[in-house]
């Protein structure tokens, strides 16, 4: 005999499957929604239903977009440079790059990163579509914006293997010391690259 009516315990179980939410938080959220004005749970339910059904991946860059669109907003925008392409790991990376407003080209989202130890190989990422997109022509520069980590380096190395024969300019985001950091705590890897990439004052 369950202590709570099923609609509540079902919701608690559903919340518990989310990352970072334990049984106590799940119960607190469920009871909050139970007591809240009915528009809060209704809005949430609407948004959740839309989340999967109304979104899809852009067939060109694989960023997340509305399923009603043929191409995502960036790919469809004629003002964006068609000849430079920025390759990122996740849709969230597109978001932060767009917030800088500094990049005027288009994107390609890999949806992950190569990880030999965890068994994530090239076939699990959107690498083949990228190679075909570059082979299709019209792209002058590919900027690889994977994270500065072992996996990001491995992915960049693999992309170089695949894209270098196609004769495009390949670049990678510079790495160095973050704003507000302390030289004392910098690791060899970062410091060596910061030194190699030093700039005229």
């Amino acid at each position: 005999m369950p202590l709570l009516p099923e609609p509540i315990s079902d919701l608690i179980h559903a919340f518990q499957r989310l990352p970072g939410i334990g049984p106590k938080t799940a119960a607190r959220l469920a009871f909050y929604l139970l007591r809240a004005d009915s528009d809060i749970p209704e809005q949430l339910a609407q948004a959740l239903l839309q989340l999967k059904s109304a979104t899809s991946l852009c067939p060109q860059c694989f960023n997340i977009t509305l399923s009603s669109r043929e191409l995502c907003e960036i790919c469809a925008d004629p003002r964006r440079d068609a000849d430079s392409l920025c390759v990122v790991e996740d849709p969230l990376d597109v978001l932060v790059l767009e917030q800088t407003g500094a990049f005027q080209g288009r994107y390609h989202v890999l949806h992950g990163v190569l990880s030999p130890v965890e068994g994530i190989g090239p076939d699990k990422l959107k690498i083949q579509p990228l190679v075909e997109r570059v082979r299709g022509g019209g792209i002058r520069e590919v900027i690889i914006a994977t994270n500065p980590s072992m996996e990001g380096d491995a992915t960049a190395g693999y992309l170089r293997q695949q894209l270098a024969p196609l004769g495009v300019r390949l670049t990678r985001l510079a790495r160095g010391l973050p704003v507000g950091s302390d030289l004392e705590y910098a690791d060899q890897n970062t410091l060596l690259r910061a030194l190699a990439g030093r700039q005229e004052l």
């Binding site: 970072g20 030999p116 130890v117 190395g157 695949q162 705590y185 690791d187 060899q188």
Partner: protein
């Protein structure tokens, strides 16, 4: 453990990492003093983390650890060797991943093993030199098997116990050694082992790294030895490894 230390000063190699919580990372370390252990690096995914750069996989690092509720917590970290050259080259990166995957699969969190630690550090060091990654990996395979107690028998037939003659043989992953052609015909599921590959296996088993490094074997022998080792590991671990497939993919592109 009866008396549990609150903190630990050690040196180790970062084998793997995964995201943990909001901004933390869980790392699997192989330490000199305590063997394999898991530790949390708090705030490792923040831009200003003082530890993140020192806690990348395949880094040899000097550490201060504090005992947390479930895992150790990394309180200080400083790189001893980042093995930079092996990060620049995809085949070398994949080779380092192979070294790490084998060690991780074969060990439990069971305390100090200096021999394995030494072998790990030496292998990563060799992979960041100009030496052929293939040579480093095959030498690692046989030393690892020795240290784990799975040294393959290459001098007498594992079935009839007669000395192995100078001819083509078979290899049995189940029995961990060579079978003479007479016995090999009687058993299913064996790997053919040519004279050349057997010679190479024996040479790698008895020689020092310096000797192995200056010896030259044909690509065919290398491929055959790699196949036999892979079959043996798959049998011992009861699973296929992730990294050999990845290594083949990146070798094709190199």
């Amino acid at each position: 453990m009866a008396e549990r230390e609150r903190s630990l000063r050690t040196e180790g190699v970062v084998l793997r990492h995964s995201d943990w919580g909001e901004a933390d990372r869980l790392v699997i370390l192989f330490t000199r003093e305590q063997g394999k252990l898991r530790a949390v690096v708090k705030g490792a995914r923040k831009l200003h983390s003082r530890k993140a750069g020192h806690m990348e996989p395949f880094t040899r690092v000097s550490l201060m650890l504090a005992r947390g509720r479930d895992f150790w917590i990394v309180t200080q970290a400083e790189t001893v060797d980042a093995y930079l050259p092996l990060r620049e080259d995809l085949v070398r990166t994949a080779s380092a991943a192979y070294v790490v995957e084998l060690l991780d699969r074969f060990t439990y969190e069971e305390g100090q093993n200096l021999g394995l630690y030494q072998l790990l550090v030496e292998s990563l060091h060799r992979l960041s030199s100009v030496d052929a990654p293939q040579t480093v990996l095959r030498f690692y395979d046989l030393r690892l098997l020795d240290l784990l107690g799975f040294r393959p028998e290459l001098y007498e037939c594992v079935r009839c116990r007669q000395p192995i003659q100078d001819e083509d043989q078979f290899f049995s992953p189940q029995q961990g050694g060579a079978l003479c052609p007479r016995c090999g015909r009687l058993e299913p599921g064996l790997w053919p082992l040519s004279r050349r590959a057997l010679k190479m296996l024996r040479f790698y088993q008895r020689s020092t790294y310096a000797q192995v490094r200056s010896a030259a074997f044909s690509a065919a022998s290398h491929a055959e030895m790699e196949g036999v080792m892979q079959a043996y590991f798959t049998y011992l671990l009861e699973r296929t490894l992730n990294t050999p497939g990845f290594l083949r993919t990146v070798r094709r592109g190199a």
